[in-house]
Assembly symmetry: none
Homo-oligomer: 214 residues x 4
DNA sequence: TATGAATGAGTTTTCATTCAT
DNA sequence: AATGAATGAAAACTCATTCAT
């Protein structure tokens, strides 16, 4: 890694190395963004080098979040393209896959949860815009597929998808365990510490049922 | 306000003064918790005095969040007790009121959005537990009313309420405008910067319709 | 303790209570002076009350140190008055008693060790002088007894006593264990972590032998 | 000094600069450790830079103390190697030199006096151990020379040296003038404010005479 | 390009002491 | 005399970012 990265592909590889290190560190950590120094160490690069590839620390994680989001959408599309059967079955299938996809990317919701208030600060306006733009395009594309596959009116797909993400975000935050296990009997109500997988699946099924009811 | 807060009521008043200052500062700010020093200044108190009433800065905002939440629930109950007509009407009415209540407390969702990752750290375990416990009790109470008023099976109320909050959280975050107004035509798609009020109302209606469909 | 102390003896008792609390706290602690608040709590008094009896926190510990010192001297005199036999025996006996006396007052050397650099600051000039004056008088008295009992030239007693204290101070500090027990084989040399009692006894015996050699 | 200290020697120089500044400030001060900010200013460096060279403020002074101590021992050895004549003369000479050496390093005893209670706290266990280990080795070496030069039984040298230091420490503390010059006639007794040089010389002579008396 | 040395702003909390009651 | 509410100074250390090499 200490050699000069001159070819475009080498540069790309170095970027990836930084992103990987950042992701690993973030997931291993306590929800706080790891320090730039730690990321540099973990990437086997000098601190200054990191700043050759990203303008700010937040940009790293913003990129990570964007990548996760786009990957999820891509995977979702691949799922969508395989759906068969009646609409109700497709929807159930879709939701099940959606939940799996989300769960297979733990960094996604953890980053999303702090994106307001942490990531959004210290982020160049341009960068954020760029990310949003990319996301919109990808989202629209997936939404179109949903409309097509589920036979939904044009324009509804994007709403359904956004609200699906919204519910996901909200339920994820509610599912986070306290650091402490002093949960006494009152807290034993599983309601307040729901199991993410189950809870999200149910909630999304309810939501889609309502959204598709004419 | 008495120069020296000796009577219990004076102490309470001073506590409120701090909370008020904190809320004002937070709402005026950029989503970051205002510094303890600023809160002290705004409350016309010395820095040390603030720490006589709250053990840490986070405790202040935790208290603020809890109060907002509990007040919302109380207001919600008052709404519930007035609902008349067929269930569908009651639901629509309830949702409309819910959205209004939420919007009338701007600090609620802003604090909630950073509660994971900022408030939860630096908060005594006990304090957090106490807050959660109170919240659970209040939530259960409101949930019971919902079950009663909407004629919903026992145990479903709390789920509906939790998911309602989840959707709210998620949509709020999606509705936050970027700091910048560089929104170009691509972002003009209102989808990604939805108007909170409208978007939430629709989403909740869809959700409740699905949830109540047998 | 909450009642008013009007009689002089009551005041004295309250003073003692504070001193006791301070001593207990100091000995239980980590070598730092306990906070004024803790002392007040431990004495069952309000913080303000403590300051009715002592002008500064340091004054409390200064008084404690002075009392310990004076008591030690008094006890030493009582030992001196009992000494019998040849001078060499008297000296050995005296040293043995001295070491015991010192060891029976753990606060003495602990306070003495921080007296330079902690106690001396934040102490009214007058107070410090007063303490020193008292100490000089007591020391001179004891020194006279030493001269008389040991048949030492006038004026030598005070020097011997001062140097005895000096050696004691120095050896005590050398005998303090590190907080850590990571002492590896190199540190196993007991020389550097001598056992206070033994080491002091030996050192003082050597010193006195030399001092008394004509 | 190079703007950027990249060469090892430049780094060493910067370290020295910090130590020098710290020493100067400490000696000019009131016995308290100067603040990290002040040290940085005096070294013409930024606060953060100081922390690139030392992990904590205490580490700076610990290094200073260690250096002083080791230098003293080295100088002492050089003195020892020159001693000539009968043992009694060697001892007297040695003591005289010892006192001079100690006096030529005013920071040594001042730091030593606060080492218990200030330096020992806030100091990494490892660091402290390392310092102690180095000191032990140097001390043992000097002790061997003493044994050789003075023809003392093996193992006695280290004891004599330790006790010499102990006496030095103790007498130094007793020799410290009050901040105030309100010394009235009672305190005029030079006993309690002895002149360090004279007092230490006498005391050490007495001690060594006793220690070497068979 | 890569490095890593240098920078310095930024903030919570403690606690001795005072003084209104 | 007693209380305890109020004060506000004081300081170590981190870490994102820059820039000399």
């Amino acid at each position: 890694m200490a050699r000069y990265a001159i070819a475009t592909e080498d540069k790309q590889a170095r970027r990836e190395a930084i992103l990987d290190a950042a992701k690993t560190l973030f997931l291993a950590g306590d929800g706080t963004l790891p320090s730039a120094g730690d990321i540099a160490n973990a990437s086997q690069l000098a601190k200054g080098t990191v700043y050759l590839y990203f303008r700010t620390k937040e940009e790293i994680f913003s990129a990570l979040l964007a990548a996760s989001l786009l990957d999820s959408l891509k995977e979702l599309e691949s799922v969508l393209s395989e759906l068969k059967g009646r609409r109700a079955d497709k929807v159930a299938s879709f939701i099940a896959s959606f939940v799996s996809i989300i769960e297979s990317r733990p960094e996604l919701l953890r980053l999303d949860a702090i994106s307001y208030g942490v990531l959004e600060k210290n982020l160049e306006a341009e960068t954020m815009l760029e990310v949003k733009r990319e996301f919109i395009i990808a989202l629209s594309h997936t939404a179109s597929m949903i409309e097509f596959v589920m036979k939904i009116a044009a324009g509804r797909g994007v709403l359904l998808l956004m609200r699906t993400f919204a519910m996901t975000r909200g339920i994820w935050q509610a599912s986070q365990p306290c650091d402490i296990d002093l949960l006494d009997e009152a807290l034993a109500l599983p309601v307040l510490q729901p199991v993410f997988h189950t809870e999200l699946t149910e909630a999304l099924n309810e939501y889609w049922r309502g959204a598709l009811a004419s």
